[in-house]
Symmetry: C2
Subunit: 465 residues, 2 copies
């Protein structure tokens, strides 16, 4: 129902009426009243209710006598009831796999025009402004491919485990999907964020919507086998094999180094399930690495091989890409952890507030280091902060939904959120982030985001220095 979904913004209502006969809901006179009131702009009862003012609705109007059901059994639809109230609906299993409403077709993942030179080595962004809760529907999960996506036959797919040196793994193995799915499994809700999420904001390029500023983060319930179990089966020498290399089966030859501590903690797993079903092809079907808290590029898709080694690999995707150019001219390398971050998703850039009054400000917070401890929200550009309500249970390395009440007075407002995780780390402002990291980075921007609500109600992306 966000404004960019181009839906009918009709928002009429009738309040304070006494309506006795439920059958008359949405009768012609009632519908005319709703639309009349919508046109006249009388739609402020929510603001009044929440502002604590006395409810001063229109005079009661009895509709009970209008258009009674004819006693003679005549036209049963003399009340002009909608078709869905009088007719026979669609059968079950119209499609054995259901789809969203036709009124939601504008809720899509989208490419940022001109951002990448090809559509295979590219990105699509999740429509955060239209999403609720913490689970990202798999059909709207962000995409990031380095050489396009594939739909790989799971009966032919294999996962190989080996050591960079034979002495690091006693019994290298190759697993079929059937074999992996017989092993002990875990199911956990985790966020995944591309290291380049919010990248263009480094250059103060204020892209219009939260879909493009923050839409390379998503959150799913993943199911799979802890990598530690596979390593135990293969006889890994944990004393010497301190690094892990994940390798994908697609043409991008994606390889990333993962510290063995993460595997030993039990958090890393090879996943086949996502949000209850098999992974989607765009997300690495039939097998991907799940490395909670770590940037998305390490969650290797189409996972075909895992190697253990005694030193970091310096693979192309960690020696050339996914590094941070610091003010002194050096690069931060192996910067894996996605630090604590948050963003308000409603109201956000491109949305329009139709009226003054009450709004539920809502957004998402996450931390690659653990759990969200609190989220503060400001509506005046950071001068004053109020703690938001956190939807629980708050989970480890998961998106966390926050909500806070706000009564908009119609004047310009600067809306921000600032998250704190359970290590005590506080999400930085742009000033604080740039003081350490300079201005020439691409990756790992976790600064506080600001949305300007203009007097017109239009919401705009602005960057406070």
């Amino acid at each position: 129902m966000s404004s960019d979904d181009q839906q009918d913004p009709t928002t009429g209502q009738r309040s304070g009426r006494l309506i006795k006969a439920p059958e008359h809901f949405l009768d012609p006179e009632g519908v005319r009243t709703v639309f009349r009131e919508a046109r006249s702009g009388r739609r402020d009862f929510i603001r009044r209710a929440f502002a604590g003012a006395a409810a001063a609705g229109a005079a009661p109007l009895a509709l009970a006598q209008a258009n009674p059901v004819p006693a003679d059994g005549g036209d049963p639809n003399i009340l002009n009831l909608p078709e869905h109230t009088t007719g026979l609906g669609q059968p079950v299993v119209t499609d054995g796999y259901g789809k969203p409403s036709k009124y939601e077709t504008n809720v899509q993942r989208r490419q940022s025009p001109g951002l990448t030179q090809t559509t295979q080595a590219s990105v699509s962004f999740a429509p955060l402004q239209s999403l609720f809760g913490i689970i990202t529907p798999s059909g709207l999960h962000f995409e990031r491919h380095h050489q396009g996506w594939w739909d790989i036959d799971p009966s032919k797919h294999r996962l190989m485990l080996n050591g960079s040196d034979p002495s690091l793994m006693k019994t290298p193995k190759v697993f079929t999907m059937d074999e992996i799915m017989r092993l002990p499994s875990v199911s956990r809700i985790h966020f995944i964020e591309c290291g380049a999420n919010t990248a263009v904001e480094w250059g103060n390029v204020a892209v219009p919507t939260v879909q493009y500023t923050h839409g390379m983060v998503s959150c799913s319930e993943f199911t799979g086998v802890p990598l530690k179990i596979l390593f135990d089966l293969c006889g890994v020498d944990y004393r010497r094999a301190r690094y892990v290399l994940g390798e994908g089966a697609d043409g991008s030859s994606m390889t990333r180094t993962i510290p063995m501590e993460l595997v030993e903690s039990g958090e890393v797993f090879v996943a086949y399930g996502q949000n209850g079903e098999m992974l989607r092809p765009e997300n690495g079907y039939p097998l991907r690495l799940v490395v909670p808290g770590i940037q998305g590029v390490s969650w290797v898709k189409y996972l075909r091989r895992i190697e253990v080694g005694d030193m970091p690999y310096g693979a192309k995707d960690e020696a050339v890409h996914y590094m941070d150019l610091m003010p002194n001219g050096l690069h931060r390398q192996y910067t894996n952890i996605q630090e604590c971050k948050s963003v308000v998703t409603t109201p956000s850039g491109g949305q329009v507030l139709l009226d003054k009054g009450f709004y539920n400000i809502t957004g998402l917070a996450w931390s690659g280091k653990g759990r969200i401890k609190k989220v503060d929200v400001s509506v005046d550009g950071g001068r004053n902060w109020r703690p938001a309500r956190i939807e629980g249970p708050v989970q480890n390395k998961s998106l966390t939904r926050f909500n806070i009440d706000w009564v908009w007075d119609g004047k310009p407002a600067l809306i921000q959120s600032r998250a704190t995780d359970d290590t005590g780390y506080v999400q930085p402002t742009y000033r604080q982030l740039r003081a350490v990291r300079g201005t020439r980075s691409i990756y790992h921007n976790n600064a506080v985001q600001t949305w300007l609500v203009q007097e017109s109600g239009e919401v705009k992306n602005v960057q406070l220095s």
Copy 2:
């Protein structure tokens, strides 16, 4: 990957090999080895590993020298690599709303042939045997319609609140969707189970799969507005208005009585969001009632009206249907709560165990009274029980996933699960359930389910008396 998905059961593997050059993964000789070993049945390393036996793999074989990459820059695919490793994949946003893999098309919700006389007043069952974790993908959520489903225009949809008597609600109101979405929201994960789930098992009709025995339960993250907030806005007289009627906008005129205590607890809400996006049309788009722990029929879809009253309504769907015929000839009415229940989803009816050895037994547990405290699993028809691992965090009135290790010795096994909730209630056997409720019920069957693993590996639905 369940057996009824008709996938290639090829399960070859090669173990105990030393493979030095990762580029040679899946080279022709390697692939031939995998298939040769699959044909010869040498695929028992998992059983041996878990049985603690010494790993006695094949002799090491160096593959590094086979088919080296040509130095002269000749045919780059001399290694016979799969197309997905050498080619350019699909672009992002091939579809702005993604779909499952083409290899998963057999994972569908399905109608039970002959169960209902029409396809509109009917049921489709969720494929529990193919699902992971606790989130049901919205495209596979079970369906139960009384007059078919509709895709209602949200800009025209209204929610009316009124009292059965004007004195019970001070200011009746009609809300648009936009207005509802401005109000304070909550996001919570809850199961929904049809009161008729597992119904045919009352008559000892052992339908073949868990999809048909238990597939009228699903679980989603729902987002919406607590009904208490709407009632407070409308000035409900909580002292006298002790009952709530929910009414749907479809042709079935679905109405259900809900006790006011449930609303006062804060648990009941009017939901527009499901698993991060708007509700699906089959699940009540754009608005449904969420009544955690209560049978699905009370979660009124296409919600258009909520009335408060001072007595139960005795609506047609609670005076004729959804009642339990007891041994003394009387009916239990208003039996709302879905009591503690569980079921093993793998291995389950219709699946085939391809071999002896290690399996992860997995399943789901839930209770309409609160949280799951423990799940015990038996492989000998209830003589011995072991506690399963529970995937956390365990949430209130939510599906809960459990897993337990099992080494199958190839002999017939009777697999059962038995859940206990945090009130101390223990899921009953059929004998215990029938001792109280007789044999003529349709609804509210929460007995322990038994799956027989036969020597052939085929799994069958059996009912222990």
